[in-house]
Amino acid sequence: MLTYTLLAGFLFGLYFTLIGLGLNLVFGVMRIVNLAHGDFLMLGAFLAFWLFSLFAVNPVPTIPVAFFIFLLAGFPLYYLLVPRLLQAKDPEMLSFILFFGLSQVIQSLATILWGTSERSIPGGQLGRAVAGILSFFTGHKIENGPIEILGQSFPAAWLASGLASGIGAVFVYWYLYRTKLGYLTRAVMVSRDEAIASGIDVHRVSAVAFGIGLGLAAVAGVFAPFMLGSITPAMGSEVTITSFAVIVIGSLGNPLGTILGGLVYGISYMFMQSYYSSWANLLPYLLLIAVLLLRPNGLLGRQARRA
C-alpha cells in the first residue's frame, strides 16, 4: 500500500508538473497570470479526442502535433493581447481579468461547437502505443496492459504521461539553459528593464515563451482523458486552479521548481486519497496557503517579496 501510494503519487506528480510547467514559464517571463491555461489544456484534449474518433489517430503521434499547433497559435495570440496589456498601470492584476475573459471565450466557443457532453478515449489506446514503444526499445515483446514497477501494477497511461512529463521538463531545461533564446529568456525573467536596456527583443522572447507555454498545456491535454477522466469544454477552470497550486508550491516564476511542486502535490494527494479520502479535495488549497504563508516564494524561491 505504501509503495503503491508513493509510486502512484510520483507518477501523478509528474503529470501535475507537466500541467504546471507551461503556466509557470509564462508567469516567469511575462509576470502575467494565464487564467486560461486550463482551457488550452482542454483544447489539447479535444484535439486528441477528435483526431482519435475521426481518423483513429493514436494519442502518441498527436503529442508533437498538439505541441506545434499551439506553439504557433501562441505567437499571434501573444501579439494580440500582451503588448497592450503591459502598457497598463498594473498589468499583473489586470492579466487576471484579461485571461479570465479569454478563458470565457474559449469555453463558450468550445461549448457552442461541441456541446456539453462528456467524452473520453479508451484507455487501451495509449497502453498499446506504450507497449509497442517499450517492445521496440527493450527488444522483447511486452504485452499491452498494466505495467509492473516494484511489484505494483499501474495503468500504462500513467507511465506514459510520467514519461512525457519528464521529457517536457528536460525540454524546458534544455531550452532555458542550452539555447541562445533560452539565455535571453532567463535575462528577461531576471530583469525586464535591464533586458530591454541591453537590446534584447523582449517581445520576441516572450512570444516564444508564451507559445511554448501553450504547447506544453496542449501536450498535458492529450493525456487528460487518461489522467483526469472524461473531458468537457468546462473542465479548464479546475485544472487552472490545480496548476496554480502546483506552481506556487514549487515557486512562481521558476519553471524547474514546478517539478518539485508537482511531486509534492502528487504524492500528498495520493496519500490523502489512500488514507483520508473524504478530505482529499481540501488538500491543494491548504497546501497552497501553507506554502504561501511559510515560504511566500515557494519551496525553491530566492528572495522574499514584501510590500
Partner: protein, 306 residues
C-alpha cells in the same frame, strides 16, 4: 465634508429611492434583489481593490461565510433574522481576520492565496463529514423565516450603508491614505500613514460588506447549496462590474452592474454560451482599451464623475 453630503444627495438617495420604488412598478422582485446584491458586492470589491490595489480573487468566501453564519444561527438556535445577520457578519469578519497574514504576499500571490482560501472554506462547509453541523453538500433550507418583503427592505438598508462607506472613502483622509498606500507603499509610510492598520481596516470593511450581502442573500433565497453561495461567479462578476465602471469611484461599480448585469439578464438566461462569448470578448476589450473603466472615458470627455 460638503462634498460628502453632496455625493450622498446626488447618488445615494436617488439610488435607494429607485430601488425602493421599483418593486411596485416591476414585478420580477428576485431580479431587483440580485441587482442590489451585485451593486453591494461590486462596491465591496471596490473598497479593497479600488482603494488598496489588492485583487480579492476569493471575495466570495466572505459572502458564503455570511450566508452560512446566518443560516446556521437560524437552523440551530432559531435566532431571529436580524440577530442572525449580525452573526453572519461576524463569521465574515472572523474569516477576514484569519486571512490577514495574506497581506504579506503581494500582487498575484495574494489573489491566488485568497482564491485558495475561499475554495478551502467551501470544501470544509460542503464536506459530508460535517453534515450534522452544516448540512454538508445537501444545502440549507430556511423556510421558517421566509419573508421576502422584509429581506428586500434589509437589502436596501445594506445597499445604503455600502454606498455610504464608499462615499466616505472618496471624501475622507482615510480614503486618501489608502490610495496613497496603493500608489506607493513606502512613500505613504514615510508620510506617517500606518500602512498595516489602514490596509487591515479596508480589508475588514470589504469583508463586512460581503458578509452583510451573504446574510441577506441567504434570508431572501432561503434554499441554497454550498456551491451557490461559494460560486466563483460572484467574485468574477463583482470584479468585472467594478472594473467595467471604474474602480476607486462611487458611480463606477453602480454603472457597471446596471449595464453589464442588465445585458446578462437580457441575453444570458436563454443562451448562456453566447452570453459567455460576448462577456469574454467584452472583458478582453475592456482590459485592453479601457483599463480604468467607463468613468475614465467620461473624465476624458471632461465630465467629472464622483
Amino acid at each position: 465634508m460638503r462634498k460628502l453630503w453632496r455625493d450622498v444627495f446626488i447618488i445615494l438617495v436617488p439610488l435607494v429611492a429607485i430601488f425602493a420604488l421599483l418593486p411596485s412598478i416591476y414585478s420580477n422582485h428576485l431580479l431587483l434583489f440580485n441587482f442590489i446584491i451585485f451593486i453591494v458586492l461590486s462596491q465591496g470589491v471596490n473598497v479593497i481593490y479600488g482603494f488598496t490595489g489588492y485583487l480579492p480573487f476569493g471575495y466570495v468566501g466572505f459572502f458564503g461565510a455570511g450566508a452560512y453564519g446566518f443560516s446556521l444561527m437560524v437552523l440551530h438556535l432559531q435566532a431571529s433574522p436580524f440577530l442572525a445577520i449580525v452573526v453572519g457578519v461576524l463569521a465574515a469578519l472572523a474569516l477576514a481576520l484569519v486571512l490577514t497574514p495574506l497581506f504579506r504576499l503581494s500582487g498575484a500571490y495574494f489573489s491566488i492565496a485568497n482564491l485558495a482560501a475561499s475554495l478551502a472554506v467551501l470544501q470544509v462547509v460542503a464536506n459530508p463529514n460535517l453534515e450534522d453541523y452544516t448540512r454538508g453538500p445537501y444545502g440549507i433550507s430556511l423556510s421558517g423565516i421566509f419573508n421576502p418583503q422584509l429581506a428586500y427592505a434589509t437589502a436596501l438598508a445594506i445597499l445604503a450603508a455600502t454606498v455610504f462607506i464608499v462615499i466616505f472613502l472618496r471624501n475622507s483622509k482615510f480614503g486618501l491614505a489608502l490610495q496613497a498606500i496603493r500608489e506607493d507603499t513606502i512613500s505613504a509610510s514615510m508620510a506617517g500613514i500606518n500602512v498595516v492598520r489602514e490596509r487591515v481596516i479596508a480589508w475588514l470593511l470589504s469583508a463586512l460588506i460581503a458578509g452583510l450581502a451573504g446574510s441577506v442573500f441567504a434570508w431572501y433565497a432561503s434554499v441554497f447549496y454550498p456551491e451557490t453561495v461559494f460560486s466563483g461567479e460572484f467574485t468574477i462578476f463583482a470584479i468585472v462590474f467594478a472594473l467595467f465602471g471604474g474602480t476607486a469611484t462611487i458611480l463606477g461599480p453602480i454603472l457597471g452592474v446596471v449595464i453589464l448585469y442588465g445585458i446578462y439578464n437580457a441575453v444570458g438566461i436563454s443562451t448562456p454560451q453566447y452570453f459567455q462569448l460576448i462577456y469574454g470578448l467584452l472583458i478582453i476589450g475592456l482590459v485592453l482599451f479601457l483599463p480604468n473603466g467607463l468613468v475614465s472615458l467620461l473624465r476624458r470627455w471632461g465630465i467629472d464623475v464622483p
